[in-house]
């Protein structure tokens, strides 16, 4: 069963997707559904002996282009809708042992082009209101397929967290005439203690308000509401700073660091000119607070939405800043 169910208490949609209970779960090493299909071998998701970057509709999607009708009746208080949208998987490389941190920067550069192409193509669908690009990395995050890949969800609504950011930025713009993210970034640059890396077009910081100990956010220096607003030089700069941050994470404790990487950008119900008060940015949520201790989302975080950070952003930023590679 699959549908959108409205939560009137939080004024948000919940997606039910019972078919996902049977999705691929830690397949044996010799069965990798994201590897290229070899001659004489078992058929994988990719019907080719080799590939560079592939994107395909998720076999166990939370949202579908042609969803079934809801299996349950809603009400005026708790309406239901078909779970219409698009869920894609994006395989970064055919190398099952690789990860974003080990790919050459040129490959990351190519990936940015693919992400942008997906944003434009999915965003052009009239039923899509928000294109959300993200990567879950590591068993600690809940990943069940280790082959390097990310996902793209094309939602039929603007999800709650981007909605809050957009609304906050809009209110700030209306009261000050300035863009909120630009002022946050200016403050970070003037302070300097939370800088992690920067180049001519982007700045990476552990933000003043970081919720995770080693959270990093990457902001563009210019007003760019979406991936599609970057020029060629900015896309190259994004590849470099993205690679820098992810390699710093792996060098932090000399191992592959799990994280959630996500991109927040403008909705696709208008143009970037409609959202000139907002900036695209990337956020990283690594779950570890020390080499062997996880930060759990417990009562305060999960139930009250109040994060408790056991570290200081100034301290973890300095640690990351002093971890190679260096871009400052």
């Amino acid at each position: 069963m699959s549908e959108l169910r409205w939560n009137p208490l939080l004024e948000e949609w919940v997606i039910t997707a019972t078919h996902r209970q049977d999705r691929t779960f830690f397949p044996p090493p010799d069965y990798n559904p994201l590897a290229p299909t070899q001659p004489g071998g078992f058929p994988t998701e990719i019907p080719s002996a080799s590939y560079e970057i592939v994107v395909f509709e998720n076999k166990f999607p939370s949202l579908r282009q042609s969803p079934p009708d809801p299996a349950i009746a809603g009400s005026d208080l708790t309406p239901v809708r078909p779970a219409r949208g698009i869920c894609e998987v994006i395989c970064y490389t055919p190398d099952a042992e690789a990860e974003l941190a080990t790919l050459p920067v040129q490959k990351v550069h190519e990936l940015i082009y693919v992400w942008t192409d997906r944003f434009l193509e999915l965003g052009a669908r009239d039923f899509v209101k928000y294109v959300y690009i993200f990567e879950n990395k590591g068993k600690e995050i809940g990943v069940t397929l280790s082959h390097p890949h990310g996902q793209i969800y094309a939602y039929p609504f603007v999800p709650p967290i981007p909605r809050r950011e957009l609304d906050a930025a809009h209110r700030y713009y209306q009261s000050t005439g300035r863009d909120l993210i630009g002022d946050v970034l200016q403050q970070e640059l003037e302070d300097g203690r939370r800088l992690v890396a920067q180049n001519e077009a982007f700045v990476a910081v552990v933000p003043f308000f970081a919720r995770y100990p080693y959270e990093v956010q990457i902001f563009p220096r210019a007003v760019r509401p979406a991936l599609s607003d970057f020029n060629a030089d900015e896309r190259a700069a994004l590849a470099r700073i993205l690679k820098t941050v992810i390699e710093k994470y792996n060098n932090l404790w000399q191992r592959s660091l799990p994280y959630i990487m996500l991109m927040h950008q403008r909705p696709t119900d208008g143009t970037s000119a409609d959202y000139a008060y907002y900036r695209f940015h990337i956020e990283f949520y690594p779950p570890y607070r020390t080499p062997d201790k996880l930060k759990y989302l417990a009562g305060s975080e999960a139930g009250a939405g109040v994060f408790i950070n056991d570290t200081l952003a100034e301290v973890t930023a300095e640690t990351l800043r002093n971890t190679p590679p260096y871009l400052i």
């Binding site: 998701e45 019907p47 080719s48 080799s50 590939y51 560079e52 970057i53 592939v54 994107v55 395909f56 509709e57 076999k59 941190a101 080990t102 050459p104 920067v105 040129q106 490959k107 550069h109 190519e110 082009y113 693919v114 192409d117 434009l120 590591g138 068993k139 630009g182 970034l185 200016q186 640059l189 700045v203 220096r221 210019a222 007003v223 760019r224 509401p225 599609s228 607003d229 020029n231 060629a232 030089d233 896309r235 190259a236 590849a239 470099r240 690679k243 820098t244 390699e247 792996n250 060098n251 000399q254 191992r255 592959s256 799990p258 970037s272 000119a273 000139a276 062997d292 190679p324 871009l327």
Partner: protein
């Protein structure tokens, strides 16, 4: 806690040359899988291996360039201020 396999990375070359940036060129081919789902192969001719070029050539689908509206500035110039 089980450690993930050590994947320490050496600091790789982070440079992208002007030529690499200016000649960045991506192609794609879209097919339909047996169960009706679509799959898109992306191909970067400049960096692909011979095996990857061959695999892309052999995909029976029209080739399309990836165009990102690079020259289109959706923002008024005065709103593109930089920090």
């Amino acid at each position: 806690m089980r450690d993930s396999p050590a994947r320490r990375t050496a600091s790789l070359n982070f440079s992208l040359t002007s030529e690499e940036i200016e000649t960045m060129h991506i192609l794609k081919k879209q097919i339909q899988k047996e169960d009706g789902r679509y799959l898109i192969f992306y191909h970067a001719p400049a960096s692909a291996t011979e095996a990857q070029r061959k695999a892309f050539r052999e995909i029976d689908a029209p080739e399309q360039p990836v165009t990102l509206l690079d020259d289109r500035n959706c923002l008024p110039a005065e709103e593109s201020h930089r920090v």
